[in-house]
Symmetry: C2
DNA sequence: GCAGAGTAGGCACAAACATGCAAGAATGGG
DNA sequence: CCCATTCTTGCATGTTTGTGCCTACTCTGC
């Protein structure tokens, strides 16, 4: 194997796996670890990778985190996100809400999926840069707490789009209070987005079930489904079920 | 798992969950608690986390990026960015372009500065989340290469704003070709933004001087100033000076 | 102020490392 | 076509780094 081709492969692996282990690659390419180490040292010198003890990491920290996340046991948030990501199929147009669970959806979304994602969250948009999906950003005044565009201009922008599915993030899913969040403006924005989509699914990781915040977004029965991995036998889940919520099992 | 990747993961968890418990992470990553504790101790020493009894908490963001900045020599880009950031004074409304140099401006901007920043870049908007500044995002179709909103909707959004100063990023600053960039749509967007601002300054780090790209943005003489730290005696800089460009020394 | 969890420092071992060297392959001029 | 030069690779070397375990100490909640 040519040395240059090997370097190229190392960079490929860095991009794909988010890391390279000198020992493993040496075994795989049937060269000595010294050779791999030398390659990595040079890639580091060129700024294309970062040499670390045991191998190398990509020069871009974002890729590292992506890979690190994928290598550990998924928590409630990522299980819900993975289930939600499966709802987005090729050719579809989806609206993605802001918040950490929506961000987890972008991480769970296949990078080569051909679809259109509409979002009012700058962090969600930024994390979709590495994806093939078309991204449409809804602008407006940035609400710092959850990194989403809000206000009159954002609401106006939301009215100009429409989608097949809306993945809605909330802070509380409660049998009596319904779907709630912590900010009035944000609640209005979420309502507007829901009205622009054929279907709406709620991203409800464990800690949201049974919780309620100050501002109502929608009644439980106004959404297509509530994606959660909370224990179906818990009191809060039974209450939701009794209230007519369309609970969907994640993971 | 590579030790360096584990550190990354710890930082990621700190950012996501707001805390790290040594015992839990040791179990999750299948290493001893000692190892996690050592990692946390080092992150603390680097100022990237704060060690507490039982685990660690995130360091204040201000300290974190001070630590990050201190570890690298300021390059041309950050010198230009620092000079540009000084143009933004309290009470001002500034438009920030996309690109890595504009991103460096956000890093150079004091976190407690009271101002309004308008941007069509999602990465710039995301990095302003920790700042006191009001942020207005211009939405539209995301142009992945430079992480900015482009297209008809973005142009429309740009026409609705106005500002005191526009910090313009380009890929080429050339005596004959003027200010240029690599995409036609982006060039048009930059022109529109310039028309909405009283003053326009160009972020021209070293490597841009004397370079030219395919699409023209503006003639050299149409901007208020060109901020650069390139050698004033170089041929390219002399040519720019002769062409009537208002060169401003950075650093 | 006591019990139990958490911690730092020391120790030992294994893995990973840089370095120098020599053999072999590729390259380039004569 | 051949010889000199350069580049690459693998190996042996002594060194450094990361890790787990142990012990003595410290912190926290009751």
């Amino acid at each position: 194997m040519l040395a240059a081709a090997r370097r190229h492969l190392l960079l490929d692996r860095l991009a794909r796996d988010g890391r390279v282990v000198a020992k493993d690659l040496a075994a795989e390419l049937e060269v000595s670890e010294d050779t791999i180490r030398r390659d990595l040292r040079e890639l580091d010198a060129e700024g294309l990778a970062v040499r670390v003890y045991g191998g190398a990491l990509p020069a871009s920290p974002a890729v590292v985190d992506y890979a690190a996340r994928a290598s550990v046991a998924p928590d409630s948030k990522s299980r819900v996100a993975a289930a939600a990501a499966r709802l987005i199929v090729p050719g579809m147009t989806a609206i993605l809400d802001g918040g950490t669970t929506a961000l987890a959806v972008t991480a769970a979304l296949p990078r080569d999926l051909d679809c259109t994602i509409i979002t009012h969250s700058v962090t969600v948009a930024a994390s979709l840069l590495e994806h093939r999906a078309d991204v449409i950003v809804i602008g407006g005044t940035l609400f710092k707490h959850s990194a989403v565009a809000c206000g009159a201009r954002a609401a106006e922008g939301a009215l100009e789009v429409s989608a097949d599915v809306f993945l809605l993030g909330v802070t509380g899913v409660h049998a009596d209070a319904g779907l709630t969040t912590g900010d009035a403006d944000e609640a209005a924005m979420k309502r507007t987005l829901a009205s622009r989509s054929a279907d709406t699914y709620v991203l409800a990781s464990e800690e949201k079930i049974g919780a309620a915040s100050r501002f109502g977004v929608l009644p439980l029965t106004e959404v297509t489904g509530i994606i959660t991995d909370a224990d179906a036998d818990s009191a809060a889940m039974r209450a939701l079920d009794a209230a007519g919520a369309a609970l969907m099992r994640a993971g």
